[in-house]
């Protein structure tokens, strides 16, 4: 009897300041890879832009970042943008965001298999594997675990043990190295999926913002609809890049306050 594939949802957290073709590529690459393992069936993707309280320099208002992401993903049949994280009063730890979405996914799953139950009996519920939610990220993300006070140890543990990571390589960054150098990551390496991006495609939002400030073209790096939005609202200027200048990133202050 063939084992049923595990339904999988991919969640990408980040600034999306602005969303780029490369962000969307991450999803496509991850989906191909995870489906290719034969164990998973990717059923959805979620883009979750960080809230304004993250305090990162140059971060424009969440409402714009969300609007742009929605425009960019209009043509996608499986990736959606979710505003929950951006609507929270304070910056939300990644693990908390994962827990939130996972709760939602489970509820949805129970609801749909529950309906099966009524019509075709309990067998339907037993055969359908429980869905999983994994965090989708670039290789640079793994190295953030090393930054002092940016992550809580118990959160890193929960992230890789309970959820899992799908990590796309970027440039010359070797994610295998980061996994190797961390005991926690190493211990859960079976739940960390490293995807090689063979085409070097380093479209970073930072570079896009830089180009926009200098009046240079970003066509074909981000969707046309997003470019239009940016021009309409005059986002990404020298002023916008100075936003939060000198501020401490919220995770660093929030986690310092918490009791050990």
């Amino acid at each position: 009897m063939a084992t049923r594939r595990v339904p999988l949802v991919l969640l990408a957290c980040g600034s999306f300041n602005p969303i780029t073709n490369q962000h969307m590529r991450l999803f496509e690459l991850a989906r191909d890879h995870m489906n290719g393992t034969g164990q998973y069936q990717v059923v959805g993707g979620i883009v979750s832009p960080v809230s304004d309280s993250y305090g990162k320099q140059g971060l424009v208002l969440a409402k714009h970042r969300i609007a742009m992401a929605k425009l960019a993903l209009q043509s996608s049949s499986w990736i959606t943008v979710d505003e929950w994280e951006s609507q929270q009063p304070d910056w939300t730890e990644t693990v908390v965001t994962l827990r939130h979405y996972y709760g939602r996914i489970l509820k949805e799953h129970e609801r749909s298999t529950g309906m099966h139950n009524n019509s075709s009996g309990r067998a339907a519920l037993l055969a359908s594997p429980s869905p999983q939610l994994k965090l989708l990220c670039g290789a640079d993300f793994l190295s953030t675990f090393k930054v002092p006070d940016l992550w809580r140890d118990d959160h890193v543990e929960e992230l890789v043990r309970r959820f899992g990571l799908v990590c796309i390589s970027r440039g010359r960054l070797q994610p295998e190295q980061a996994v190797h150098e961390s005991d926690t990551l190493s211990h859960h390496r079976h739940n960390i999926f490293l995807v090689r991006e063979w085409v070097r495609n380093e479209i970073s939002a930072t570079e896009v913002r830089r180009a926009l400030r200098r009046g240079l073209s970003v066509k074909y790096l981000i969707p046309d609809s997003v470019i239009e939005y940016i021009h309409q609202h005059n986002l990404y200027t020298e002023d916008s890049e100075r936003r939060n200048e000198g501020n401490v990133l919220r995770p660093l202050t929030k986690q310092a306050q918490e009791p050990v």
């Binding site: 073709n21 490369q22 969307m24 590529r25 496509e28 690459l29 989906r31 191909d32 043509s75 996608s76 440039g171 063979w198 085409v199 070097r200 495609n201 380093e202 479209i203 970073s204 570079e207 180009a211 240079l216 073209s217 066509k219 074909y220 790096l221 046309d224």
Partner: protein, 261 residues
């Protein structure tokens, strides 16, 4: 300085466009930004000229498809167009002849009376006087380096392109166009007609990679415009079979220049 002191430029990109990708399109945008940033030029048009089937490159699918995909890709561009002249020629056409063809067309468009003068002038195109834009060949650094490949180019054709027209070369990581120019006497002599554009974001979306991904049923979304992705799907282009096309045939330039006629 603004306005009339700027030389009008048309950028012409020749290539397989098999298929056209976001990288090809980026090349145009980068080149335009670069030239206009010098203050000396105003880029008025970009032309994509897909090569004819007679080129006989391995994996080259029919020109009609490559043309249509390029058209779909440039639908939303207000300055880049696709030209089918090259692809409609029965035999493969040398690049300098394609450039010459487009130059003649531009000259004819611009000034009917002065066509003869412009066409037969031995000097650099005097755009300011005739109003005819300067035509430059747009390419990646790999094309520049292909000048050094035996029997791929005729020396006099390279000379014509760099001396009479001009080259805009967008770098790709791993290549050093300045070094290459340095090492070639011809290129060095006309280095002022060769504009090197540094790609500030590494963007190596190669058509080869795209074809490979398609053969393996992997996603190429966001590497090409959506309309092109859809077209490829609808027409079932780029399979293991299509990649074998011309596998046992010699590339047209090599055939022509090694005297196998």
């Amino acid at each position: 300085m603004e306005g009339q002191s700027r030389t009008k430029v048309v950028l012409l990109a020749c290539g397989s466009f098999n298929p056209v990708t976001n990288m090809h399109l980026r090349m145009f945008e980068l080149a335009r930004d670069h030239l206009e940033d010098t203050g000396q030029y105003r880029v008025v048009k970009g032309i994509i000229s897909p090569v004819g089937d007679g080129y006989k490159k391995k994996g080259l699918i029919e020109a009609c498809h490559r043309l249509e995909m390029a058209r779909l890709a440039t639908e939303n561009s207000d300055w880049i167009i696709v030209d089918s002249w090259e692809s409609l020629q029965p035999e493969w056409v040398e690049t300098n002849k394609v450039v010459r063809h487009h130059y003649d067309e531009l000259a004819a468009e611009q000034n009917d009376d002065d066509v003869d003068t412009v066409k037969y002038s031995k000097k650099r195109p005097v755009s300011l006087l005739s109003g005819c834009p300067q035509l430059m060949l747009l390419c990646g650094a790999d094309v520049l380096e292909s000048f050094g490949q035996p029997n791929l180019w005729k020396q006099e054709d390279i000379n014509e392109i760099v001396s009479f027209y001009g080259l805009v070369c967008v770098t790709r990581s791993g290549s050093d166009p300045h070094k290459f120019i340095q090492q070639s006497d011809t290129l060095w002599k006309y280095r002022r007609n060769i504009h090197i554009v540094h790609e500030w974001v590494t963007n190596e979306i190669s058509a080869t990679h795209v074809r490979r991904a398609l053969r393996r049923s992997q996603s190429v979304r966001y590497l090409l415009p959506d309309t092109v992705v859809d077209y490829i799907k609808v027409h079932h282009l780029y399979t293991a079979e299509s990649e074998q096309k011309n596998a046992d045939v010699v590339l047209a330039p090599l055939q022509r220049y090694t005297g196998s006629n």
